[in-house]
Symmetry: C2
Subunit: 207 residues, 2 copies
């Protein structure tokens, strides 16, 4: 599939798709052939949507989430609790927490996680902006909702230290056995932690 | 991942990518997030390439392969043998045969294969154009290079019958044990056919 294309336009389109992560040349070719069979207006809309996304999308000046406006619709929502900030790695995580419908505060998107291996330090993330939000007052609690990995723990610890001078409660997500997990197959560290952090049994509340 | 997007532009872009075959919503999201991190000019080029492909690409009036010009560079190549036409299903197959460097004739792209299950009949393919090429003269051999499936065999047979009134030799690709195949794991139909169609042993020619 590497050799002579019958059309330069075809080759360029295949190259563009193959430049995306996880898309090989065979898949790229298949996607391009699919687009060729699609309606011309549909394909033009596809191309324009991609270009518009990159040119017009902006980041919320408060929470740094992706937004169509300078302040995103979560930050500008008057009904939300502005004293509560949930710190997440990226926009996907904002959506994941939003989908639980359990959180009515605001967010702060770090734009990554501290990872020396990948060369990502605190200054590459929006941690200074988070500190600024805390300094400007009105924030009672910071919920650290990062991945439960080494990098997540490092970032949690760094933010905790950085905010230690402010009157704000720093919390993290509960860690334990996931809902639906079979105990036999739960890893020992999770199981051990969930024994240490056991809770008084209560009947499930009616949300 | 199905719920509220923080940005309409983001949602539209994810929807566009998710409309491609084999790309789910999670993958679409990942691709869009990747594009957001890419250089603006690169993403614009991506969008424009896709749009241009659909609007500007054309099909060769002779062989019906994808082309940038009304007659493709294979059909317009003076050094190729115009008496030999290799019939293939699609452009990928043209490229596959070209990559072997064993064929110096022309091609004819059917644009599919006869498949009653998918509602594809002979009139949906470029078989009438193939007949027209044979009728206009100068063609000595038609090589049927279709998949060795039920649909491929049906299409082979249909084209063979349709061209039976013309003075042209219709051939098909050799079928047999693939190079590198272990005999023990070769299916019995292929093996049976390759015994029936056995050839006189000869030392491999120095290509």
């Amino acid at each position: 599939m590497s050799a002579r294309f019958p059309s330069r336009l075809l080759e360029e389109a295949v190259n563009e798709f193959a430049s995306l992560p996880g898309i090989g040349r065979k898949t790229a070719f298949r996607l391009v052939m699919h687009l060729l069979r699609r309606d011309s207006a549909e394909v033009r809309r596809f191309g324009e949507t991609v270009t518009k996304l990159r040119d017009d999308v902006c980041y919320c000046t408060l929470c740094h989430s992706i937004s169509d406006t300078p302040v995103c619709n979560i930050c500008s929502d008057q009904s939300r609790d502005t004293s509560l900030i949930c710190v997440v790695e990226n926009v996907q995580d904002v959506m994941a927490v939003e989908n639980t419908r359990q959180f009515k505060g605001l967010y702060h998107v770090l734009g990554g996680i501290i990872s020396p291996v990948d060369g990502i330090g605190p200054s590459d993330l929006t941690i200074a902006n988070l500190e600024e939000r805390v300094r400007s007052g009105g924030v009672k609690e910071i919920i650290l909702a990062l991945s439960t990995t080494m990098e997540g723990d490092t970032t949690n610890f760094y933010i905790y230290k950085r905010l230690s001078g402010y009157e704000v409660c720093v919390t993290t997500l509960a860690r334990g056995v996931a809902i639906g997990d079979v105990l036999e197959y739960t890893d020992e560290i999770t199981l051990g932690q969930s024994i240490i952090n056991r809770r008084v049994f209560s009947l499930p509340s009616q949300g």
